[in-house]
């Protein structure tokens, strides 16, 4: 069969990214031809500044060399500029006469620097800063001459100025306005930046309008409107960019500033797509890499005839790629009449932070000197998170909100190469940066796959993202806010859950089929999630799929590094007795358990039990009255208590009884992630209830209820949900909270990040303000518990799932000819 012909015009980052995405989706659908005006493969244009500054070489910024095009079977016409698109004849014609017929076209012609229309602009020595030619021209000039003038004090101009200065030139930056980088910075931040750059030796002429470039043979200087002059051996124009829409315009496609496209990146001719800097989408044009990559994904999806992806515009952030200067800017950082500003300015340390809020939501931010939290503010902004509960700490950063005291260590750029970033997998900064550079990684997922950093507990995710940002250049592909469950599907957790309940899907295959899963069996990421969602949606009805459970939940014990298992029986509220202790001691001796350990959750761990012995161990424990402690599951773990008013001279309520009642009510419940509780008998809080998922603190007049705490990788203190007077009320709140968490959180999301994501207000509204809803939630929880409170240990000790625990001992070897 004749394949369709796809022609890419523009061999830059956006266009080639679209091809990569397309080839990943459908490698054989198109016969692909690429026209590129530059005589190179595809390189990372963002990194031209470091090349100019001598911090990187051209080789280091190549993304796809010619070999890649050959390997993919792509015809590459490099150094050929397309002169015409003949839409009637469906062919693309280059200036040198090369032609290519097409069925589809991707226009990715990028943008051009704006040349000021002043006399002398065509003199030799007047340069732009756009491609490798320009960089080479500037490098050549820097070797032979001394004075450089950069026109434009924006992002690009400052990067050019910095690069030329690094190459030994004396550089003057001319800017029309008073504020440098006025599209990204407010006045105070711009002043700090200017002071820093001046201390490095750059000269600034702000409020200067260029009138003429002086010189006859080549440029010799610049004269301004006010009559002043400055000498120059080289002038760099960096006064802005303009989308390259001329080719499209000539072809009769509708253009405004750029080539106008719809949400599937198609122009007014549906055979022709446009993306990248040349495209104009919903009135916006973008010059940063993250939006271009999002567009590439959508375009590829449509070309691959999948057609479900839509581009809805991007929220962007910027950073300046000048070594040693940390600067971050996003959104509406100027603010207006109905906005608020939270400010921190410490000129001596060179730090300035400003977060602009509207209705308690972040709408913009400028950071100078300390940009570690840029990605956090950016995320809060994109998510539209209500930050009212964070306000007092907001400017001190995410570290201050709680991350077990990593604090100052979270300054990625300042770290040494051998600094350990990922404590779980022992990955150092150098290894991550090396992988990003060598393997050309752009996303967090790619870094995770190649280095394993941030792939276990995730507490270093912010740091890894920071490293990506500083290494790739600021606008690496940010992890999207709503992501699919895994690569087997394009649906998010929320979409999957909704489909399950709305369409009465009651098995994993049914859900996969309805949602058009891309893989036959799913994978180790989506199967456990689906199993949980189905279990939560259809209690008593859904049949648990043990092969979709992680081994710990399948075997009802915790796998250890040597393949043995640990067994933790439930000890209600941490209260035990001689009979129970004796039974545990007997089991330990009988099965030669090598280690007994008191856990942090007030229980006893029997470590090193062989899998085949588990059913017998459980049988013995069952007979002594124990049930499973679920220490292995995404389930209710422990309820930690203090001795409370029964013994303690400070105790105000009977916290032990309260804890046991909560544990009796909630044990056996499966939850999105593990769930821990505690009950303290007085505000001294010896049971540490304020770092638990659900914590109760007794006061003289009743019980305080706290939720969303965490004592793990990222310490988070609970939020106070409310105060009640009776034990029955505590139980009702607890059941309602459990059910809300079970029904609303994503699989593998602990209560702490869940509450930070959805906001405490939601929890309060559903549980505290609306008593009717609270009772309904609690009732659903108790109903589900009727089916969940079956001791899995007793079942297995009684012989169910025997296969799981029995190895095969082959009878006799047999020779078969």
């Amino acid at each position: 069969m004749q394949r369709e012909r796809l022609v890419l015009i523009g061999n830059g980052m956006a266009g080639v990214r679209a091809l990569e995405e397309l080839l990943a989706l459908t490698p054989d659908l198109y016969e692909i031809t690429v026209f590129g005006a530059e005589p190179y493969g595809n390189y990372n244009r963002i990194l031209l500044s470091p090349v100019l500054a001598g911090e990187k070489t051209l080789d280091q910024i190549m993304l796809n060399d010619e070999r890649w095009y050959a390997d993919q079977g792509i015809t590459l016409h490099k150094g050929k500029t397309v002169a015409q698109i003949d839409r009637c004849g469906r062919r693309v014609i280059a200036a040198d006469g090369t032609e290519a017929a097409y069925d589809r076209v991707i226009l990715a012609t990028g943008s051009s620097p704006i040349m000021l229309p002043v006399p002398g602009k065509d003199l030799p020595g007047v340069n732009t800063f756009r491609d490798i030619f320009d960089v080479n021209a500037m490098l050549a000039a820097s070797r032979t001459s001394r004075h450089a003038v950069v026109i434009g004090g924006g992002l690009l101009g400052l990067e050019a100025a910095n690069g030329l200065q690094k190459r030994g030139m004396e550089v003057t930056v001319v800017h029309l306005l008073d504020t440098l980088m006025e599209r990204q910075l407010d006045k105070p931040a711009a002043d700090l930046l200017r002071a820093e750059l001046e201390s490095r030796g750059l000269r600034f002429l702000t409020g200067h309008q260029t009138e003429t470039f002086l010189g006859t043979e080549r440029v010799e200087g610049v004269r301004f409107k006010d009559g002043g002059e400055v000498g120059a051996d080289i002038v760099v124009m960096a006064a802005g960019i303009r989308p390259n829409a001329e080719l499209a315009r000539q072809a009769g496609l509708h253009c405004e500033r750029g080539v106008v496209v719809n949400d599937t990146m198609q122009t007014y001719d549906p055979r022709i797509y446009a993306l990248g800097e040349c495209a104009q989408h919903r009135g916006n044009t973008y010059g940063l890499v993250a939006p271009l990559f999002e567009q590439a994904k959508v375009c590829a999806n449509h070309l691959a005839r999948l057609g479900y992806a839509r581009y809805a515009g991007s929220v962007t952030s910027t950073k300046l790629k000048v070594t040693g200067i940390d600067l971050f800017s996003a959104g509406d950082f100027q603010g207006g009449p109905d906005t608020e500003e939270i400010l921190l300015k410490d000129a001596a340390r060179g730090v300035y932070k400003k977060v602009v809020l509207k209705d308690n939501r972040v709408i913009g931010s400028v950071l100078y000197g300390d940009t570690v939290d840029g990605s956090w503010y950016f995320q809060l902004m994109k998510d539209g998170t209500d930050v009212s509960h964070l306000r007092e700490h907001l400017l001190f950063g995410q570290a201050h909100v709680g991350d077990s005291g990593h604090g100052a260590a979270t300054r990625a750029a300042a770290l040494a190469d051998d600094a350990e970033i990922c404590g779980c997998n022992g990955v150092c900064k150098g290894a991550i940066v090396g992988a990003i550079v060598d393997k050309k990684l752009f996303t967090l997922d790619e870094v995770r796959a190649h280095t394993k950093a941030s792939s276990s507990c995730g507490s270093c995710t912010g740091l890894v993202e920071e490293l990506l940002a500083t290494t790739v250049g600021a606008d690496y592909t940010q992890t999207p806010r709503t992501r699919p469950v895994c690569t087997c599907t394009h649906y998010t957790h929320e979409e999957v859950r909704r489909a399950i309940t709305e369409n009465l899907l009651k098995s994993i295959p049914a859900a996969r089929q309805f949602l058009e899963w891309k893989t036959p069996d799913g994978c180790h990421v989506c199967r456990p999630a689906l199993n949980y969602y189905l279990l939560c949606a259809w209690p008593g009805e859904y049949i648990d799929d043990s092969q979709s459970r992680f081994i710990n939940e399948r075997a009802h014990a915790n796998i250890q590094k040597d393949g043995t298992f640990s067994v933790i029986p439930r000890i209600w509220g941490g209260v035990t007795n001689p009979h129970e202790l004796r039974a545990i001691a007997d089991v330990a001796e009988k099965y030669h358990v090598p280690t007994l350990k008191i856990t942090g959750g007030q229980r006893i761990d029997l470590l090193g039990v062989k899998k085949e012995n588990l059913p017998q161990v459980w049988g013995d424990l069952s007979r002594a009255g124990f049930v499973s402690g679920h220490a292995y599951g995404k389930a209710l773990r422990t309820v930690k208590t203090c001795v409370g008013s029964e013994w303690c001279r400070f105790g105000t309520q009977d916290s032990t009884t309260m804890g046991i009642r909560l544990e009796k009510m909630t044990w056996g419940a499966w939850t999105p992630h593990k769930t821990k509780m505690a009950v303290s008998g007085c505000p001294r809080n010896c049971a540490e209830a304020t770092i638990k998922d659900f914590g109760v603190v007794a006061v003289d007049s009743g019980w305080e209820i706290h939720v969303g705490g965490n004592g793990g990788v990222k310490v988070r203190v609970t939020d106070l949900l409310g105060k009640v007077t009776t034990m029955e009320e505590v139980e009702e709140y607890c059941a309602a909270f459990m059910q809300l968490y079970r029904e609303d959180a994503r699989y593998l999301e602990r209560t702490a990040p869940w509450i930070e994501r959805v906001g405490l207000e939601l929890v309060r509204k559903m549980i505290v303000d609306d008593g009717e809803n609270r009772r309904r939630l609690a009732a659903r929880f108790l109903e589900s518990q009727k089916h969940a409170q079956v001791d899995p240990w007793a079942e297995r000790a009684g012989g169910s799932e025997r296969r799981e625990f029995t190895p095969i001992h082959p009878v006799t070897p047999r020779a078969v000819a």
Binding site: A449, H450, S455, S456, T519, P520, D521, G522, C523, H524, R527, P528, Q547, S548, R549, F550, I551, N552, R554, A555, I559, K561, G563, R803, P807, I808, H809, P810, V811, T812, P813, R814, A815, V816
Partner: protein, 122 residues
Amino acid sequence: MQWLEVGGLDEVPRLGARVVRTGHGDIAVFRSADDKIFALDDRCPHKGGPLSQGIVYDRRVACPLHNWVISLESGAATGPDSGCTRRHEVKVENGRVYVSIAAVEVRTRGQGDSEAFAATGT
């Protein structure tokens, strides 16, 4: 080639695995959704995790210790990870599963025993 009779196809759960104890160490026998059988050493090339305890999908298993994904067909780690665990020939005849333990010389795993094939009896 010597074949070791492991048992009935039904004794290995779909999208699951069983451990087979042999004189050459533990072998993990897997069964895919379409009832294909595969056998690998029960050791992940990463840190020796028991692959038989992992989640099985398509032609792969995810190691229970650190989620390396190992190809059931080749024993090789997939994605950017590299490493390979020994695979063994299998066949199913009349609903019975047979494994032929690959020669130890192919990839020495410290078993030490490269002599004639022998399995522990029960």
